[in-house]
């Protein structure tokens, strides 16, 4: 079977300084993957680079055996909640309908079917009663569930979620876990950036350990070991990072 996601020697740099070095990974279809690593490990960067939101300086990305451009409609995205202004004048339904713009194109009108799909998505995260609520009047957990519903409305096969569990209440956390399992049982592939080691083992069947460099990827049972975790969290790769910075400066000089 074609892997859902294949990264080949993916390197990403901010201002000429690499933050992600040569990542090679193949994620099989139907996997529920937790991306684990310390702060600044490049977890969010990896997600953004997969979608081309942050340009890769080298390497390539394939989703279902094709470039992201070609398989874009099969990818759903749940960004970090802090990325948007929650005082923006829209209600819950408006936000979820944005998940449909990718399919319909931004010039087409929203159809009844779009609305139905948006409502079903809201229902799946338990937010249907809030569909006409102004987004400023939502709690943090509810905001997160709105973002999840928007991704569900994209009706994708492959989901990228950036810290969906960050700062949410227990109800939302349970709702997200149920949803993830539900999606997985439908054969969807899901990549979740996660920061809590204690729950990682129980939530995901695959783990991707990252610290600027891919430390390990595999079934949770195989990867979630003391040795691997020490490698992941055992401080920054200072030498690698310094040398890379020097190399990039040298490149500029020549």
């Amino acid at each position: 079977m074609i892997p859902a996601l294949e990264l080949h020697d993916l390197t990403v740099s901010y201002a000429k300084k690499p933050v992600l070095y040569g990542v090679d990974v193949q994620v099989p279809q139907g996997a529920l993957v937790g991306i684990i690593g310390p702060n600044g490990a490049g977890k969010s960067t990896m997600i953004r680079a997969i979608m081309g939101l942050t340009p890769a300086s080298s390497g390539w990305v394939q989703i279902f055996g094709e470039t992201f451009e070609k398989s874009r409609h099969r990818v759903g995205y749940v960004p970090q909640r802090e990325q948007v202004d929650w005082d923006f004048p829209v209600n819950v339904m408006d936000v979820v309908l944005m998940g449909r713009y990718g399919r319909r194109g931004w010039l087409r009108r929203v159809t009844k079917e779009d609305k139905k799909i948006a409502e079903e998505s809201l229902d799946k995260v338990g937010m249907l009663p809030f569909r006409n609520r102004q987004i400023a009047n939502l709690s943090g957990g509810q905001q997160q569930r709105v973002f999840l519903a928007r991704a569900l409305a994209q009706q994708s096969d492959f989901y990228l979620m950036d810290e969906p569990f960050a700062g949410v209440d227990a109800t939302t956390e349970r709702a997200i876990v149920t949803l993830l399992q539900d999606l997985q049982s439908q054969g969807k592939t899901i990549l979740v950036v996660h920061h809590d080691l204690t729950t990682a083992k129980e939530y995901f069947d695959h783990l991707l350990l990252l610290n600027m460099r891919l430390v390990a990827f595999g079934k949770t049972a195989d990867v979630f070991t003391v040795e691997q975790l020490q490698k992941t969290y055992g401080g920054r790769l200072t030498i690698l990072s310094d040398v890379a910075a020097k190399a990039s400066q040298a490149e500029e000089l020549t």
């Binding site: 202004d85 004048p89 829209v90 936000v95 944005m98 931004w106």
Partner: protein, 498 residues
């Protein structure tokens, strides 16, 4: 040298008048009166009274006035629509920077063939506007300075260059009567047919862009990265919008003036944001407010015998904003104050009803009414105070007073309300003692506040949680659903068993 000096004196006079215009709104009409009488003395107009001027305005008999008014409507629409996105995207300072920075472009466009050719001016201004934005992004990208500092820098330097160029043009023999000074404070009457045509074209473009690109623009404004992940042309939409904003600013500049034109991008949508919370309504409202304030500004300036239009438009806009700030249904300052007051009087009323209930309860509901004297004694308040309270109940039809004014009776509605308040109070006390483990002597004060805010749903939950209790922690009966929802006032026979 001489003609330029007289021109300068003329300018200082205009300055003085403009300064007058920035007086508080209350003085506006007074001001207009004095100015038009002043104009009569100079004798530069045949019709001088305000009513005559207003009549001329509303009959649209004057073709140049028609043109100016049409231009104002177009600019209100154009700036209102684009401003909606400017404000929600937190780009207000961008609008301000752009409007100041295009001034050198206007001067250059004028110098191109030494007359006020609107197309040359538009091209010059757009190019310089683009240059200013590039400078801002170059400064923020290559230095540690943040965007606001970069914009402040670019805004003032470009503006200074523009002022110098315009000063230079005015010293030129052909530049003297060019009307380029109108760009500083705005004069709607200075617009000619080709200006208006250009305005109509840009406003039409904006309307098409916003109508067809609405969903894309909404995504861009709310969450650009998500739009990019969907493959929507975010970069194109952003740059197209910036281009249209600079068009709007440049075409509006003759009517509003360079200094105040950004107000037309900011005030109408800011007002709309206070009044509604959906983007499409913000845009529609903002366009309507933009048109209304622009037209009203033109009207006021016309009444004042062609004073600069810009300040009047902005004054009209700030007046509408002030109204929205004070009276907006959700966020208005006075609205909130009013709501607090009504809530306070409701709580006072409910407390009176509760006190009546307590008095009736003390007598086992045997007596039909409560005398005001007894009531005053129980509440330890003077009789006048009690009369005021009973008057309030009468007004709200919660109680009736006997003809001699001595005895107070519940109306069915009043009885229902009294029961509800007492029930809320006692239920909450019971909840605090039984479930939250408070001491029975600690719960009364809390219940005094909570009784007024418990909704019916919460009451149902409490009742279920407490297993439909009959008495409160102090052993007093809790009025049940029968009293709160039933119509009849219980007769002694019914209530003694309670």
């Amino acid at each position: 040298m001489k003609p330029s000096r007289t021109a300068e004196i003329g300018r200082t006079q205009r300055f003085r008048k403009t300064n007058l215009c920035v007086l508080p709104i209350s003085a506006l009409f007074l001001l207009l009166g004095t100015i038009s009488s002043h104009a009569a003395r100079i004798g530069d107009l045949t019709e001088t009274s305000i009513t005559d001027q207003a009549f001329r305005f509303f009959t649209f008999s004057d073709p140049s006035l028609r043109l100016a008014l049409f231009g104002c409507i177009l600019l209100g629409l154009n700036c209102g629509l684009l401003g909606g996105f400017v404000v929600v995207r937190r780009m207000s300072l961008v609008g301000d920077t752009l409007s100041h920075a295009v001034l050198p472009g206007i001067a250059l466009g004028f110098l191109w063939n030494m007359n006020k050719d609107p197309v040359a001016i538009l091209i010059g201004a757009t190019l310089v506007g683009g240059l200013s934005m590039l400078t801002v992004s170059a400064i923020t990208r290559t230095t540690r300075l943040k965007e606001d500092a970069a914009m402040g820098l670019v805004l003032s330097s470009f503006y200074a260059v523009g002022i110098c160029l315009i000063g230079m043009i005015q010293r030129l023999p052909s530049g003297n009567k060019s009307g380029i000074d109108k760009f500083l404070f705005g004069q709607a009457a200075a617009m000619n047919g080709s200006d208006i045509t250009l305005m109509a074209i840009t406003a039409g473009l904006t309307l098409l862009f916003v109508t067809f690109g609405y969903r894309g623009l909404l995504t861009l404004s709310f969450h650009r990265a998500f739009g990019e992940s969907l493959g929507l042309p975010m970069g194109f939409l952003h740059h197209a919008m910036m281009l249209l904003i600079s068009f709007a600013v440049v075409t509006a500049m003759q009517a509003v003036g360079v200094v105040l034109v950004s107000a037309m991008l900011i005030i109408p949508p800011a007002t709309a944001c206070l009044l509604t919370d959906r983007m499409h309504r913000v845009l529609i409202l903002s366009a309507v407010i933009g048109i209304a304030t622009a037209a009203f500004g033109a009207f006021l300036s016309f009444l004042g015998s062609n004073l600069p239009t810009g300040p009047f438009m902005v004054l009209a806009g700030s007046f509408v904003f002030t109204m929205a700030f004070l009276f907006s249904p959700q966020q208005g300052w006075l609205t909130r104050l009013w709501r607090q007051r009504t809530q306070k009087s409701r709580i006072e009323r409910e407390n009176t009803l509760k006190a009546m209930y307590h008095l009736a309860e003390r007598r086992d509901f045997r007596e039909e009414g409560i005398t005001l004297l007894d009531f005053a004694e129980v509440r330890r308040e003077p009789l006048e105070q009690i009369r005021l309270q009973s008057d309030d109940l009468l007004r709200q039809k919660l109680a009736t007073l006997t003809d001699d004014g001595s005895m107070l009776h519940f109306t069915p509605e009043g009885w229902r309300k009294a029961c509800a308040v007492v029930r809320n109070h006692r239920l909450w006390e019971l909840y605090l003692t039984n479930i939250m483990q408070y001491g029975t002597d600690h719960v009364h004060d809390d219940a005094e506040k909570i009784e007024h805010v418990l909704g019916e749903d919460t009451v149902r939950q409490l009742e279920r949680r407490l297993n439909f209790p009959q008495t409160d922690p102090h052993g007093k009966p809790i009025p049940g659903a029968r009293e709160v929802h039933g119509q009849s006032i219980p007769r002694p026979a019914e209530t003694t068993g309670y």
